[in-house]
């Protein structure tokens, strides 16, 4: 068995124990909660997201109605945005059947100001492929769910259990052709972030 052979070789060659460093300094150095919405908006926009500050769900509906024509396939994971197909009603459908989704709307409970990333677990996605296969993605987050850096993000995630989770920081993109940035590689062509204030 290669397993035993490999582990024995590693054990024989690894050196004396080195301690893990303390992460406390890094997290306290970066733990400033001033202007989180402003910081998030600046970085998120630079990463290609459309960031909106909104007062309530009606404001979100108004923006979405302007941006998306009636009749396109929209799936919502948020009860308050119930005009669209609710994700729980289609969660047993084959993942491939979402290939024609125009817009997917999901919620996040954790947003990172330093890089624009929003944390979503399978619980919020319901179907893992949804935030990737949709042509456009919208994510709703409360202002109070924004934190400064990834150091605080993982403190908040802690030991929670999930089958799958992802930080999503913008629309799908690539710069593989001569380093020119192109939005809309394989995943959503846009990410709209709604910050509920």
């Amino acid at each position: 068995m290669s397993r035993e052979k490999i582990l024995a070789a590693v054990k024989a060659n690894q050196f004396s124990h080195a301690e893990l460093p303390d992460l406390e300094i890094l997290s306290s150095l970066t733990n400033t909660n001033d202007n989180l919405v402003e910081r998030y908006t600046t970085v998120g926009s630079a990463g290609g997201s459309f960031v909106y500050e909104v007062a309530d769900y009606d404001a979100i509906k108004a923006i979405l109605q302007k941006e998306f024509k009636p009749g396109v396939k929209i799936i919502s994971g948020i009860r308050e945005l119930g005009d669209y197909t609710f994700v729980d009603d289609v969660k047993h459908d084959l993942s491939h059947s979402f290939a024609d989704v125009e817009l997917c709307i999901l919620a996040s409970n954790l947003g990172v100001a330093e890089n624009g990333a929003l944390w979503l677990t399978e619980e919020q996605m319901t179907v893992r492929v949804l935030p990737f296969i949709a042509q456009h993605l919208a994510i709703v987050i409360s202002k109070n769910s924004l934190i400064p850096t990834m150091a605080q993000a993982y403190q908040k995630i802690g030991q929670s259990e999930y089958g799958y989770g992802a930080f999503i920081s913008g629309p799908s993109k690539t710069a593989d052709i001569e380093q020119s940035l192109v939005i809309g590689a394989h995943g959503p062509r846009s990410l709209s972030v709604f910050i509920l204030t």
């Binding site: 993942s95 491939h96 890089n115 990737f132 995630i157 930080f167 710069a175 593989d176 052709i177 394989h186």
Partner: protein, 461 residues
Amino acid sequence: MSSTATKDHPQLAAIFNRDEPRVDWHDETLWWVRAKRDIAAHKLPEWELLRETASQIKNNVLSNLSSYLEQFEANAIKNGVTVHWAADAREHNQIIHKLLSDKGINRMVKSKSMLTEECHLNEYLLQQGIDVIDSDLGERIVQLAGEPPSHIVLPCIHKKKEEIGDIFHEHLGSAKGESDPKILTETARQHLREVFLTRRAALTGVNFAIAETGEIVICTNEGNADMGAHLAEIHIASMGMEKIIPQRKHLGVFLRLLTRSATGQPITTYSSHFAKPQDGKEIHIVIVDNGRSIQLGREDFRNSLKCIRCGACMNTCPVYRKSGGHSYHTAVAGPIGSILAPNLDMEKYADLPFASTLCGSCSNVCPVKIDIHDQLYKWRQVIVKAGYTPKAKTLAMKGMAFTLASPALYRAAGKMGRWTFKYAPFAVNNGANPWYKHREMPKAPEQSFGEWYAKRKDQHK
């Protein structure tokens, strides 16, 4: 690859250098990426502490790797993931082939994995009648061109958009002469979407594997790893054993460093954490050694296993920028590749540690503080002692040692050299002298320091 296998770095670099405007363009493009890295790094006052912390976490990982691997395996199994172990490239390829053939699968989609490049998985599977399509845009481009990636983060950085347009016209039916990156990317999007929707198996790499939770983290900007993995029945993740980090919270250090170092972005678009398979689907993780346990035992070189594959050392390297990734004739090019490859085959890659000016810029930008240029220097000594240096260089060095050992010979040689530089520079500065391929010599002085000093002493008597 086979045509380049017998050529060494200087010979392959000479081919790349035939097209001078392209070399300048390549050089400037990568330097621009390096500049973006600087801007991103300088925005964080705690940057140096982050690097130091990351380096220390990796020290801890490498000093306890066997127990972390066992812990990771146990937790992954608890999550419902199947774990495989591969001692070398051959076993890695065989495991993947078996997983596919057991399910009767003969087509697979693959996101970026330098490990599968190292193992030459695509070629192997092709021989077994299995078709592999690379889904990262840059990798798809080089795959269609029949070339290996030239950079670990920017696989087709050596290609001009017009060449990519020609490739897409031939293989994907884009309009002839079309070279707009937006239109070419859209062409690839349509082509690959069909691939994602029809492949039952998806292979991905692994950026980080968390011992504490058994989950793996995969970072992409395009979303191609997720599109492949979530739509397939079986997700196979190929992972070098050094990808382990102890706890989930350590991602809060590495994810802050990775893309800032790579492209100057604050984070990739997607940082996906795979813990458990979806209902009715499978995740298989293949943990690969392929020489890593040997490298772990080389005290001078074990730090190379800290690498998180950001590519910063390539972007900053004056030799890489001007010689191109393919001149390194190995899966991972540039400074980091040059300290990893000799571990796998010292004779085949004996030239690579010499493909450096030892300027140290690679070590300065490395997010996990690998002493890359020191290791390049140390590899040179190991390689010379093992007798793997080119014959001409060995002879020249022996002649040099003989001359320097005798004061009379040294003086005579110096005089001859100065005369030659002054009256007959063509005798040395010509194609027959390989020294001049790399260097320009200074103007020769009228006299040596020794001669000047002797004369001065006479005058002051």
